[in-house]
């Protein structure tokens, strides 16, 4: 079976007086349903790699294949459409819209896609919140719930349009042990029970232990010998 996501000799250099190399020569393939973590020292380029894999940033060399499709020729519109349908992001700093309720935050991608009716979209959003144990909190604003709950809202939102691929950047980075365990369990379940593919950047060894595979990044390159 072809990989859901593949990177071929991926590189990203920030132009400038002194060009900065963020990522270089990264080649990898992730299978459907896999739970992969990216690890490495701080500043090694893990987030940068994740942005490239998630089509948020454009590589300066190499290419990203999503579901076998080369994305290097995509224009801004195609990139946005792909992010909307195929990718879900969970960032370290929850990134919810503070002016919208928890439910409305989860509804954002559903409404933007516009495939479901308003009623159906609401049902789906509620369902997701239920699954993530947030049924009580739909009407609350993001600042009225805890950090762990916010992270779960972010996951619910990432799942809204049922994308095959979830990308997470240190999803447990600022959660306590129990909340972190909860989020870890959820992400793992997504791959096991729902066939989603999860790629997560983490420093958390317990989190890494739950993954199918660990990829080490040092100085922007894959380092097969890297151990935390």
């Amino acid at each position: 079976m072809r990989p859901i996501l593949a990177a071929e000799r991926l590189g990203r250099v920030l132009p400038g007086e002194i060009p900065v190399t963020l990522v270089q020569d990264v080649t990898l393939a992730v299978e459907r349903g896999e739970f992969v973590v990216i690890m490495g020292p701080s500043g090694s380029g893990k987030s940068s790699l994740l942005y490239l894999l998630g089509l948020l940033d454009t590589p300066t060399s190499g290419r990203v294949l999503l579901d076998g499709q080369d994305t290097s020729g995509f224009g801004e519109d195609e990139l946005a459409a792909t992010r909307l349908r195929k990718l879900g992001f969970v960032f370290q700093f929850h990134f919810l819209l503070a002016e919208f309720s928890v439910l409305d935050n989860v509804l954002l991608p559903l409404r933007r896609l516009g495939v479901l009716t308003e009623d159906a979209a609401r049902r789906r959003a509620r369902e997701l919140l239920d699954q993530l144990g947030l049924s009580e909190h739909g009407h609350k604003r993001p600042y009225q719930i805890s950090g762990g709950q916010r992270q779960r809202v972010a996951i619910a939102r990432a799942l809204a349009n049922d994308p095959p691929l979830i990308l997470a950047d240190e999803p447990t980075g600022n959660l306590d042990t129990r909340a972190a365990a909860n989020v870890r369990q959820i992400l793992r379940d997504l791959t096991r029970a729902f066939g989603k593919t999860v790629i997560a950047v983490t420093h958390d060894l317990t989190f890494a232990g739950a993954a199918d595979r660990r990829i080490g990044i040092v100085d922007g390159r894959i380092d097969p010998d890297w151990r935390a």
């Binding site: 987030s47 940068s48 942005y51 998630g54 948020l56 940033d57 801004e76 519109d77 946005a80 459409a81 792909t82 992010r83 909307l84 349908r85 990718l87 992001f89 960032f91 370290q92 700093f93 990134f95 919810l96 819209l97 002016e99 919208f100 509804l107 954002l108 991608p109 409404r111 933007r112 896609l113 939102r157 349009n161 950047d169």
Partner: protein
């Protein structure tokens, strides 16, 4: 409601103070626009109405617009004919065959015409001498083209019609000469003819110069006095539709050959003054709306700056640059629309207030209300301009918002 619109509404509702301030700018701009425009347009229309009511719509005079062509030139228009040292015929000045011409003019629909012979005469009374303009008129016809009869303080046009030796003068002249009804004055023409005329009517137009220099007598009498039998030197024409004057004048000039001047042509300079006045007025009131647009620009720019993170999230979720632009354009449209509606309401209120203000124009004896124009095109213009400036003001910040790159923001956070 589309998700873009919902986000736009949320942005504005959560920023009540700046939203209200920029709304107020638009509201005041639109209201002021309407108040000034309705007053300026109202006074303009009032002025034009006076002009139409008090001056002839068309004057046909005994002049030609172009010199008469030589018969040889008329006969061979393509030929190399040049006639030199032409000595013009001396002819009695005036419109020839005026009865036939009057019949033609009166055959045109929607107008009334009156023949006039105007000339200068010298009036003498009790040792005082004064040059005045004497118009020979046909009272029955004059009634159809002039409001002079309404201005009579004593006597009437009918009295003039009944008295071949009558003269009608203005109150100014009467005062100067110490004339009363029934007084008898001598009128002398430049040619030396003298007639004795009796005052049978007096008028007051309110125009001091007119009231001192204009006098009227019967056409036959004036033709005799000026020694121009059977001649007149102008037709005064009044139309049912004053704005047809230009076209009707052209028809008359074409047929009669005599110069026919419509009131529009005669007051061209006034019309261009009115145009300049309108230009100035609309520039000023539009400038106010442009200033109000800066308020909107400021508000929306601030929102864009505050919301860069939200924009980054939306774009990472799959919102297009276009979606993001539309969110902020929608904010401009909403501010413009709501501002225009409230501004229209306030403007109508101001107009109603202005319409109740009473003033006393110079020369008038009665109080009149300020003339207010209620035409709908002003509302469209004000609202349209407000909306356009609001959208224009939203455009730049919206474009900037559309260009936000999520990675740049995410890197800044990470």
């Amino acid at each position: 409601m589309s998700i873009r619109l919902a986000i736009a509404v949320t942005h504005l509702v959560n920023r009540k103070r700046p939203t209200l301030v920029s709304l107020t700018g638009i509201v005041l701009g639109v209201a002021f626009f309407l108040a000034v425009s309705s007053l300026m347009r109202g006074s303009e229309r009032d002025f034009i109405k006076r002009l139409i009511d008090n001056s002839p719509h068309i004057t046909v005079s005994d002049e030609y617009r172009n010199p008469q062509l030589q018969p040889a030139v008329v006969r061979w228009p393509e030929g190399a004919v040049e006639v030199r040292r032409v000595k013009p015929l001396t002819e009695v000045r005036g419109i020839r065959g005026h009865a036939r011409k009057l019949a033609f003019i009166e055959s045109l629909p929607g107008l009334r015409a009156a023949p006039v012979l105007m000339g200068s005469v010298v009036l003498t009374f009790a040792g005082r001498i004064e040059g005045v303009t004497l118009s020979g008129i046909v009272p029955a016809k004059t009634k159809g083209v002039s409001t002079i009869e309404e201005k009579f303080t004593q006597g009437s046009l009918d009295a003039l019609a009944a008295n071949p030796n009558g003269i009608v003068i203005g109150v100014g002249l009467a005062k100067k000469f110490g004339l009363e009804m029934g007084s008898v004055v001598n009128a002398a023409s430049p040619g030396g003819e003298v007639r004795t005329l009796k005052v049978v009517g007096m008028f007051r137009t309110g125009n001091a110069n007119y009231d001192e220099t204009q006098t009227f007598a019967l056409l036959k009498r004036v033709q005799g006095l000026l020694d121009r039998p059977n001649r007149i030197n102008r037709f005064i024409i009044q139309l049912d539709d004053p704005y047809a004057a230009r076209d009707v004048a052209a028809v008359i000039e074409e047929r009669t050959g005599y110069k026919s001047v419509s009131w529009l042509e005669a007051s061209e300079d006034l019309m261009s003054v009115l145009l300049v006045r309108n230009l100035i007025m609309y520039s000023v009131v539009s400038a106010i709306l442009v200033v109000a647009a800066f308020g909107i620009y400021n508000t929306i720019s601030t929102i864009v700056m505050e919301k860069t993170h939200d924009i980054a999230i939306l774009k990472s979720m799959g919102f297009h640059a276009r979606d993001v632009r539309r969110i902020f354009l929608a904010e401009g449209v909403m501010l413009g629309l709501i501002g225009s509606l409230l501004g229209l309401a306030l403007g109508l209120g101001l107009m109603a207030l202005l319409a109740r203000v009473e003033i006393k124009p110079p020369g008038a004896t009665e109080l009149v209300h300020l003339p207010i124009y209620w035409g709908y095109e002003q509302y469209l213009l004000a609202a349209g301009f407000a909306l356009a400036s609001a959208v224009g003001a939203a455009y730049l910040p919206a474009r900037k918002a559309g260009r936000v790159q999520p990675v740049t923001i995410l890197r800044g956070m990470g």
